[in-house]
């Protein structure tokens, strides 16, 4: 008994640590906490659902930006618009670092700096992918913890 409960506690702690590190390293911000607060019995996996939805939908937004960057000459207004959409979406899950890169991108966009945009976009994509991996791991682990919890729960 004590084994399972201490195991539970361990897992919980690990999960908590994972989350904290995501915050400490600046990957996530307050918005993520907001999402967690929305999670309840009715939507027990709310945060994961939202994040999945984001990653699913943002694919087209990224494509839009890439296509716009490939144009010659670049239509910066359009590019800005696309990035605006992407940024708006990204802030919905609290993607802090990603947001920063987007802001940088927007700056280059406003000054019509195509090269700057392209470079920054590489960063954007990198952050986007990194966050995705980290969150995937986090949710996976959370599910495990959940399973363990259920398993440990007295029947």
């Amino acid at each position: 008994m004590s084994n399972s409960s201490s195991r539970e506690r361990n897992l919980h702690r690990q999960l908590a640590n994972m989350k904290h590190s995501l915050f400490d390293q600046g990957y996530l911000d307050e918005q993520f906490i907001q999402l967690e607060e929305l999670q309840d019995e009715e939507n027990p996996n709310f945060v994961e659902e939202v994040v999945s939805l984001y990653y699913w939908d943002s694919v087209r937004l990224i494509q839009n930006i890439e296509q716009a960057l490939e144009q010659n000459p670049i239509d910066f207004a359009k590019l800005d618009n696309h990035m605006h959409q992407f940024k708006g979406s990204s802030c919905s899950i609290g993607a802090k670092k990603l947001k920063k890169e987007c802001t940088q991108f927007e700056k280059y966009c406003k000054t019509g700096n195509g090269e700057g945009c392209k470079r920054t976009f590489q960063q954007v994509k990198k952050e986007y992918a990194t966050l995705k991996k980290k969150l995937e791991r986090y949710f996976q682990f959370a599910r495990q913890v959940g399973c363990v919890e259920k398993a440990c729960r007295p029947k």
Partner: protein, 606 residues
């Protein structure tokens, strides 16, 4: 899109059960907002397209209490949606965006948003949105028109006194706060125990009524007059000071909006887009101010003038509905200016262009929504909004489109939003000349108060402008350098501004046709008249009008428009699919023609 079903809010549990419509093209945000709102115990309906949202809103009249919408949406500018909603449904609208730039926020407020939230949105911000609903209700109660006597007030008082504590203060404030005797509250079917759910009986500002109003206003000058004086002058027994006050406010807003739009598009000579953008920010100058503007504000000037000249009776202009919802315009001022402009035929080319310009602007900006809601909170003709796609051809397009609406011979009464009407006026100017010439000449310039006619006029016009807009574009374009120049310059503006700074509302009966005929040289007129085959269509219709302006029914217009549109395939081809779609969307299918009849009914609320 998920809907939670139509249901009335539970008055006793307000704000719980508040019916919210959320519009956002981002599915992630939509999901989050939905959850947040549900947690606030609100009833949420989500929508990811603006047009869908409008559809829903129209379908379920009174089905929602508040709308939250994102600013950037693919199918329609959030600001446009905002205006539509405000005008047609008179619901509070909250805007959202990642972008918190002052200019954007200001724009939102100008377009009537009651709040502007920045993303990421916190739940606590959403918790308090009910205040906007509440506030609006309180204000609406003040506008309640009642034909009953004081007994109603008594009843209301008693009723409210017995209401739940939570809202007692509100009721009491409303009633006791009114020191004027002529405040009447109409007893409503619903429980008056909950003031927050009291339905307001709105004054329907028919064309006639509005005419009287403008006439009264012009006696004193827009800024100098107060609602009491206006009310006295109008001599309408059942109208209350509050009714007039709120109408006056809207009128002023409308005019200033027009003014602003005017300034933006002031140069006919082809102002650069950058010029416009600089005017993008706040600071709608009253129309009268524009009169002092230098000649480069030709547009303004011409607008003004034209506006004045055109008899207000021509509600049509209102109907033009470019942007019905225009901040109140300083009619008085504009009147003067209009006169000034009109009397200078030299500027006619300018004014011509300006007319066109305004029309164009209007067209481009406004999206015509044929559906005029039955309830006219604005008591004006619901603005006919033309959806505007910011493309140069649209400019001309809209222009031509606009022209048509002018034709309305003020049939458009009830749904007219004062703002709309104002806005339309200028636009219609040109139109009015053309169209009004015939009908007006033959009969007294004062628009017939035949609402039906108006409506009929408007409808076809609207529809015409809508679909025609597309078709007409080319002809118009080819027509005028003037226009093309303007269209370019207007383009940026059109996107954002409601057209129409014309304050055509000159209640002094300058007969429109007189002015027009006198001042506008024939070439101009023919330009207007002859522009595009689309106009021909209008002309035909014009012929068909009897002096009484019993324009025939909207259906006729529809057919015309449809056929017109189809006959101009090549013209249409030019139109970007999106624009076309939006046109279609809005007006789109012939089946929508049936909406006119509905509107009709709605119009006659009074």
């Amino acid at each position: 899109m998920e809907t939670t079903g139509f249901s009335s809010p539970r008055p006793d549990a307000f704000p719980a059960g508040l019916r919210v419509l959320v519009v956002d093209d981002d599915p992630t945000w939509l999901k989050i907002l939905e959850k947040m709102l549900k947690k606030c115990s609100y009833e949420v309906t989500t929508c990811n397209l603006a047009r869908e949202a409008l559809h829903l809103l129209r379908e379920r009249k009174d089905g929602f209490d508040i709308v939250i919408s994102d600013v950037n949406m693919p199918d329609m500018d959030g600001f446009k949606l905002l205006e539509h909603v405000g005008l047609e449904m008179d619901l509070p609208v909250i805007m959202m965006s990642v972008d918190g730039e002052t200019s954007r926020v200001m724009k939102g407020v100008q377009h009537g948003a009651c709040d502007y939230l920045l993303k990421p949105i916190r739940m606590k911000e959403l918790r308090n949105i009910w205040q906007h609903v509440f506030r609006k209700r309180i204000h609406e109660v003040r506008d309640i028109e009642s034909h009953e006597g004081l007994e109603e007030i008594q009843m209301m008082r008693n009723c409210m006194e017995q209401s739940d504590d939570g809202y007692l203060f509100c009721g009491a404030d409303l009633i006791t706060g009114k020191k004027r005797k002529d405040v009447d509250y109409k007893q409503d079917d619903r429980q008056c125990s909950d003031p927050s759910s009291v339905k307001k009986a709105r004054v329907v500002w028919t064309f006639d009524l509005h005419q009287k109003f403008v006439k009264a206003v012009n006696q004193f000058g827009l800024d100098k007059v107060g609602p009491k004086k206006i009310l006295d002058l109008m001599g309408v027994p059942w109208l209350t000071r509050e009714n007039v006050a709120s109408h006056l406010q809207k009128y002023r807003l409308y005019l200033s909006r027009l003014q602003k739009g005017n300034e933006l598009k002031s140069s006919f000579g082809g102002m650069k887009p950058s010029d416009f953008s600089s005017k993008d920010t706040a600071g709608n100058v009253c129309l009268h101010n524009s009169s002092t503007a230098p000649q480069n504000n030709v547009a303004n000037g011409s607008y003004v003038v034209c506006g004045n000249k055109i008899p207000i009776k021509n509600v049509d202009s209102k109907i033009c509905g470019e942007d019905m919802k225009i901040a109140s315009v300083q009619m008085a001022e504009s009147k003067e200016e209009l006169i000034g402009v009109i009397t200078d035929p030299q500027k006619s080319s300018n004014s011509g262009t300006s007319l066109n310009h305004s029309f164009g602007q209007i067209g481009s900006d406004v999206r015509y929504e044929p559906k005029i809601p039955a309830q006219f909170s604005w008591t004006e003709v619901p603005p006919v909004q033309f959806k505007q796609e910011p493309k140069p051809h649209f400019q001309s397009q809209s222009w031509s489109a606009e022209v048509r609406p002018v034709q309305f011979k003020q049939e458009l009464k009830p749904h007219f939003q004062s703002e709309n009407s104002f806005s339309h006026l200028p636009l219609c100017r040109n139109h009015i000349q053309v169209d009004c010439t015939e009908p007006i000449l033959s009969h007294h310039p004062i628009p017939s108060t035949n609402e039906k006619d108006k409506r009929a006029d408007i409808r076809p016009n609207c529809s015409k402008s809508r679909s025609k807009g597309i078709g007409i574009v080319n002809p118009v374009e080819s027509k005028a350098e003037l226009f093309s120049v303007q269209s370019k310059s207007h383009l940026p503006v059109c996107q954002e501004y409601e057209p129409i700074p014309c304050s055509i509302w000159n209640t002094k009966n300058h007969s429109l046709e007189q002015i027009l005929l006198n001042d506008i040289d024939s070439s101009q007129r023919s330009l207007i008249l002859g522009t595009g085959s689309g106009f021909r269509l209008w002309d035909e219709e014009l012929q068909g009008y009897s002096p009484q302006g019993d324009f025939h029914p909207q259906n006729a217009g529809f057919e015309n428009i449809e056929s017109f549109a189809y006959s101009n395939q090549e013209l249409i081809a030019d139109i970007p699919p999106l624009l076309y779609d939006s046109w279609n969307f809005d007006f789109g299918n012939p089946s929508e023609a049936t909406e006119y009849p509905v509107m009709d009914q709605g119009l006659f609320i009074a």
